[in-house]
């Protein structure tokens, strides 16, 4: 595996009675983009603040590039930070904002001018160097903030919900561009977000956080396709959870008598209560073969490129299905659906 650039070991942080971080371990590898994903209050921003040096951990160590920086103030850490509010200095021009970190480092005038130009070109901003931040659009301010953070050639780039303040279309554009820039520069990046699409779409690895701990850490496909805990399953992607009783290793019977053929990873003791997670896109319309189920259509929501269909199985179990294109289904209609055995994940 690649070299570890940021390493947190057993980091704890409390705010009064609230445990923000609970003995957190995390390693970020060189050049990767790692997302910290979770609901508000899960500790993702605290993690970022501890790495940046804005918050001191109560216990544990922070190591960056092999240096123990646990006791170092933020200004000595040499990290680039982009804030949700951008935090551009309103009393300075765009060029002076970007030059700020270079001036603090005592870089020469001509080199500053050159590097500011390069940074502006990197984030594709032209002709705004003399303007004030408030004269720019949100997307442009975002680029200035990124240029300001990158121009000091930081060891690590920290992004705190950088896209949250943009409207949807711009957010999607910036998401792609952010990834391009990050790849171009090749900088190790920690990205804090509560938006699963951002995390899945941008990251090399995603750390799903809850209550000050990492619930699961892995590539987006793994986190989505193989959630390690019930929390991860619930938080990432829509899904349905069916509760039933294992008959043997390959069969689960739901309350109400529906029998499902499953392919669970772990051996399941007969009689044990299991919770099965199904992603809506794994539910197929039409019967035939194993796990053909009859269901009543509880509701249909047309969403343009797909439909979201809520199904009710015998015994009152609810299951969500997404179907491509528009369907002719209507409420209370009876349909047959099929779910492949390997689509069921055990999240008990």
């Amino acid at each position: 595996m690649a070299r570890t650039v940021v390493e947190l070991s057993k980091v704890s942080k409390r705010y009064g009675a609230v445990v923000a971080l609970d003995a957190l371990d995390l390693a970020v590898y060189e050049g990767e983009l790692l997302s910290l994903l979770g609901p508000s209050g899960c500790g993702k921003t605290t993690t970022l603040n501890v790495v940046a040096g804005f918050a001191a951990p109560d216990a544990g160590r922070v190591v960056i590039d092999g240096d123990d920086v646990t006791g170092e103030p933020a200004w000595r850490r040499g990290l680039g930070v982009v804030f949700q509010s951008y935090a551009l200095f309103p009393h300075m021009s765009v060029a002076d904002n970007i030059a700020f970190g270079l001036r603090e480092r005592g870089v020469g005038k001509s080199e500053i001018a050159e590097r500011v130009r390069e940074a502006l070109a990197l984030v594709r901003l032209h002709g705004v160097a003399a303007q004030r931040p408030h004269e720019l659009s949100g997307g442009m301010q975002q680029r200035v903030a990124l240029a300001r953070a990158l121009v000091i050639r930081p060891r690590v780039l920290l992004l705190d919900e950088p896209l949250a303040a943009l409207d949807r279309k711009l957010r999607e554009e910036m998401r792609a561009e952010l990834r391009d820039i990050q790849r171009t520069v090749g900088i190790t990046t920690v990205f804090v977000t509560h938006d699963q699409h951002e995390a899945l779409g941008l990251s090399d690895r995603v750390a799903v956080m809850n209550a000050g701990r990492i619930e699961q850490l892995g590539p987006p496909r793994e986190v989505y396709g193989r959630p390690a805990t019930r929390f991860v399953a619930d938080f990432i992607g829509a899904s349905s959870v069916l509760e039933g009783r294992a008959l043997d290793r390959e069969t689960v019977e739901l309350d109400g008598g529906v029998r499902l053929r499953v392919a669970l990873h772990e051996a399941t003791a007969p009689g044990r209560v299991v919770r099965l997670l199904v992603r809506p896109e794994r539910v197929e319309l039409g019967g035939g073969g194993v796990n053909t189920l009859t269901a009543r259509v509880a509701s249909v929501m047309y969403l343009g490129d797909h439909c979201e269909v809520r199904l009710e199985l015998a015994g009152g179990h609810r299951m969500l299905a997404t179907l491509r294109g528009s369907t002719a289904l209507s409420r209370d209609e009876s349909v047959t659906v099929r779910v492949a055995p390997d689509a069921f994940l055990d999240v008990s």
Binding site: A52, G53, F54, P73, A74, W75, R76, R77, G78, L79, G80, V81, F83, Q84, S85, A87, L88, F89, P90, H91, M92, D96, F100, G101, E104, R105, R132, H134, R148, A149, I152
Partner: protein, 265 residues
Amino acid sequence: MIGALLARGTLVALLAFMTLPTVVVVVASFNPTAILSFPPAGLSLRWYVNALTYPQFQRAAVNSLLVTVASAVLAVPFGTAAAFALIRYPLRARGTWTALLLSPLVIPGVAAGLGFLILAAKVGLLTSRWVLIVAHVALVLPFVVRSVAVSVANLDPALERAAASLGARPRRVFVRVTLPLLRPGLLAGLLFAVIVSVNEFVVSLFISTRVTEILPVAMFTYVVNYTDPTMAALSTLFIVATVLAVVLADRLLDLSRVFQIGEHR
């Protein structure tokens, strides 16, 4: 139509009522006769000459200048520190602290003046200008705290974090980011401090001597002893100075302009 006329009439009447005493003073100051009378019998600047050459007024003006400058110089940094403490730090009973810091506004001047008098006598500073300076600091602090606190509350802490992450040590962050962004609040606080201090009378009356008395006290003493329009002339100068200060400050404090005229280096 009638409603609009009535509204305008009311405003004009109120404005006239509020400014009438001022107008009377200004008009009376040009009266050539030695009696404070209205309407004046003619036009003359002799009382302006008298006001500006009267030795006790000159001494009091110097006292006013010293006391006001000293109290503003002390109150602005201390008030700023207090504003930071109130807004930025997790305080228990923040409301109580705020109320206490702003309390000089609700304490009667007579009570405060008497208190300062007793304290000054106790520490033997009764004849010193320092008593006046200390009292003025206490009187102007609430105004400074209030104006600076508004600016501190509007200051996004992320700005200071951003500066730190870019390599600025705390002192540099303060000079290059915090201070420039607090400018509107600091200027407003300074302006309030100066206006309150220059116009302060009740408390100062208790703790002034003939040597240390500030201009409003000297004016009061004069009007007790003499009835000529010198006082009116001096008052007019006072009014003009205050109006100028306010107009000047209003231009400086216009928030949309502060950022554009603000030079940061």
